[in-house]
Symmetry: D2
Subunit: 342 residues, 4 copies
């Protein structure tokens, strides 16, 4: 039995409902590459949740979802404005640049969230061929720092983008956590708020390896299927990706899992916030808790509960909760932390 | 219950052993991105089968395996000599060119197999900067036409490559079928025959979505991990890819599945070869049967057993068998074909 | 004083008219990057010759012109059908693939000329995401083998392309030679014949380093300027490229130079065709002569007149004439060849 | 006669010495693509100035020089640390990303100059496959803000790079101006200071269209010629690029032109610095003067002397001098500025 920790929501396994669905559809032959009834069903479930303007394309990784979003919506001479802390800027080894040819423009933030006033100074050089043409504003929802954009903040960013003939992209690897945090539907947080293209994740929230790009503009579908194939992410046995999304949406698994993870983050926050020497550094709005703790405590605590240091310089750590975090994990962790700080 | 057909080995589902293994390892947390004990175990099993010079990297699709092979071994100014019928030339929508920058040089073949004499005329322009520098000879094993290279033929191709400071790549999406066809080990057919880099597939032979690149040169491992990440194919929950390969190798599932598929192809061949109006066009060496049949029969037969037309001009069709093809499928198919031609 | 040979029309220097024009405009300051009156004048002269549907963009090399043509007209998931002997397939070190991401499909020819019947079999897989989507048919005019497409042949190729929603591209590094060979205008041979995009060369015909892409579809101009900048071919002191084209068109220098070069090729052909042991292998329609000559003669002849062997296997050589080839060069060369074969 | 302004050093024409040299070598035939005696001579002159470890490759544009530097020294999974104001980040339309696949990391500066302490925080993630691997520190010399790195500052940056197994690149579009500003040789400022790869410009300092990459590591020459060809920058009539560099180095034209331009900038600085309402914002160390002037004056002054606004928000303008700026230009300009503010 593997121990649970707080390193990342992708260190967790797969929800039992997902396994059941995978098993259920594992019979006989169906056509490969997405031309099968399961894929059709999954797409239709997703359009129920995201609205009729949503065109989902399945891929295997979040990096692929981000890259496919960019490469489909833009031309190589465009740029993408994103947070300095965003996954695409920091954690994708330059995959967006290599595959799409586009330039990424990193913007400093306090809490992982772009603001119109920090973005707007990069919206320049339009029509000037020496300058990468700004094409996308990309925000992460929830952010890499566990914070959440409100619907209104999202809409403002969409308006800023559209007023410059640009698109709004959401890296929604953890969109479910954001939606349950705000108590809104997936559609309200995306299609209704003016989002043009979305990386919608499942893997971090109980799926095995299932991510998607959802285009909210029909014109993107003209090229998307070719670009997905070129991006090496067209699954041959697509039904097994589709099945994961069917399980995700059939009984609101996406919501239950995200609610649980978020609730566990709140419990963790409550359990540690008053420990002497612990300073929580970000508002806890989704499923992550960021805190400065005494430097010497870190390695000792990591021996029992694996997690990552976020900023070595200031001894800031990141604790992520997930769909399978248990109350006992929180209790044991807080107790241990308390003991170690002593 | 989905009906079985002869369209492609990737229309099949997943072997029960694979499901069991996935389920077995689905507990608690393990570190993501391949730094887990399951991945280590899978790698070690693969090195038992391919020898100590093998360095496996897991990816999700066969296209990714081919592209990662090229992009790691070569520079963008190199070219790849491959069969006109190869998957990388014909069925990957230009992914190799887009991601690696390399040129593909397609070579005509009679049966999907390159021969030294057809390759050698493309081995020119070395040192001449106007010419894409030949860098890889790529062969498919078994080929897209169901034929198999002998060990000796593989070795000759490796020697041809090496004598020009080039590498030999195998697209081994169906390498297991080739190995059991020849009755040799995976190592004899690759490492021992001089292969430098291999796309080794599992999905077409009973896995869910598990492919790999195996480098047989340690120097390739310097860059491979970065290139895999840039190719968007680093799995976060890697243990679920690794588990598929564990199941594949723990009890010779790879061999049993391939033997079954090949045996079914032989039975199919025996069942149809003497039907009047049927002309088998390629030697049946792996799990595919190619035949010319009366044009009017095709759509009628497809109604009950799905399969693809290979060459419309001459009314040539392709029938693939897989790990789950049953004797009754063969019997029913041959009977139906006989009736329709009748 | 450098000796003249028959190696290539780009071994020649620069026409005096071009020098005079460069010198004439070399005064004071003008805005860089093409926003100057010389560029405007050059563009307007070219639109006189190619018609009002022509949108010229200047670059420095023929390879850049070809790559910019492809990268502007197509997406990376498209393919380009071209002759096996074409410059883009054979002599550009894979630049088209690396920069545009597109696949090149080489087609065998007898004389460097594509024919509808050899092209048509590659026009397939439309809408099928596994297959690079055919996007351009590219022909060389005159060809790398010194042959010329008639207007009618060009129009047929354009119709073939358009009937598949594809474009016709001409690699016109030697378009001037083709036009004077046929006795037609540049417009008749391009815009009027249905050409969509043209690489129009000057360097091989008396300019210093001046090539261009001419788009015959306004929609291509939306992105072309950004793509040229990204291709690293936006000249800062553009006036000196423009000036070359001004000299080229102001007094029909393009035509006079091409006529001279072609005439010299005819003279060369007449002078050598009846020498015993010399077999001219291609019709002499532009400024190149291809011939099989005795193998042992080649190195001896090259000592005095530099030229290239085209096909070592059959001892076939290529002799190119240029705007500065003199009658005495022909006489001396033919005499020497005669002596050596003796 | 075109009026001279202060918009950019590339708005100027070509030095007479360069024209003479181009004319002098324009006779007869020489082999194309750099295999000619003029190129050999130019290379040898450059190695005299830059030392025996210098390997020069000629290209047509500064963007190409930067991109070729990156693409040759690095792999696509590497990153380049550069100033936020650098040409490659700001003015190349994403050409580096598109062609090399690398990520650019822009760093804020006060005066266009990177400092070790602002660079070092980006030197992280080594060996971590999620992170673009830092590969190059790139500095501009002189900078886009008219400032100059001392030899010691250059050496420190080289040491910082080398201590992380990275390379130091200089964008030396205006290296000549920096060298004469410091009164040092080109070799002292590059090879001797630990520079690994250099974009060395000529066009901004009196040449027509001649730029170069100079590698100071022999291992880079293994691939450089292929990458230059793929970058579409291998000149066919290379002798005319080489001739420009011959003229540049034969009689210290590079130095005389740069000295003149720098001296003119000093004169301009002296002439305007005490005008009321003018605030010079950067040290004048090369051939540029940056100043804040009254907003309403800008368009009036531009009518007579063309120049660019650098920062609209604060009404900051950029005035560049060049090899052909005359004393009368300075006098007239200062007088006009005085009048307008007056």
């Amino acid at each position: 039995m593997n121990a649970r920790g707080f390193a990342s929501d992708n260190n967790s396994g797969v929800s039992p409902e997902v396994f059941r669905k995978l098993s259920e559809i594992n019979n006989g032959h169906v056509v490969g590459y997405g031309d099968d009834p399961y894929t059709e069903h999954a797409v239709s479930l997703m359009r129920e949740h995201f609205g009729p303007s949503a065109y989902p394309y399945f891929v295997f990784t979040g990096t692929a979802a981000n890259v496919l979003s960019i490469a489909t919506a833009l031309q190589p001479f465009n740029s993408v404005i994103c947070a300095e802390t965003s996954h695409m800027q920091e954690d994708e080894c330059g995959a967006p640049e290599r595959f799409s040819g586009c330039k990424l423009i990193p913007v400093e933030t306090e809490n992982g969230k772009l603001k119109p006033e920090t973005v707007v100074k990069h919206l320049r050089g339009f029509g000037f061929e020496h300058h990468s043409q700004p094409g996308i504003i990309s925000i992460s929802q929830s952010t890499e720092l566990g914070t959440v954009y409100t619907i209104e903040e999202t809409r403002q960013m969409a308006e800023l983008a559209h007023s410059h003939n640009m698109y709004l992209h959401i890296d929604g690897a953890r969109l479910s956590n954001a939606a349950v945090s705000l108590g809104v539907s997936l559609k309200e947080l995306t299609a209704d708020a003016g989002v043009d293209v979305l990386s919608f994740g499942g893997t971090k929230n109980g799926l095995m390896a299932a991510e998607s790009v959802i285009f909210f503009r029909e014109e993107f579908t003209r090229n998307a299927k070719y670009i997905r194939k070129q991006s090496m992410h067209l699954a041959s046995k697509m039904r097994f990706v589709a099945a994961q999304f069917i399980a995700y949406f059939e009984n609101d698994l996406w919501k239950r899992n995200a609610q649980h993870a978020n609730a566990m983050a709140q419990k963790l926050y409550q359990a540690v916030k008053d420990i002497r020497g612990v300073k929580v550094t970000q508002p806890v709005e989704a499923n992550g808790v960021f805190a400065v703790i005494p430097e010497n405590v870190i390695p000792l605590l990591q021996k029992e509960y694996f997690f990552y240091v976020w900023d070595e310089e200031v001894s800031e750590v990141r604790w992520m909760t997930s769909f399978d975090t248990a109350q006992e994990d929180i209790d044991g962790f807080a107790k241990k932390l308390h003991e170690l700080i002593g």
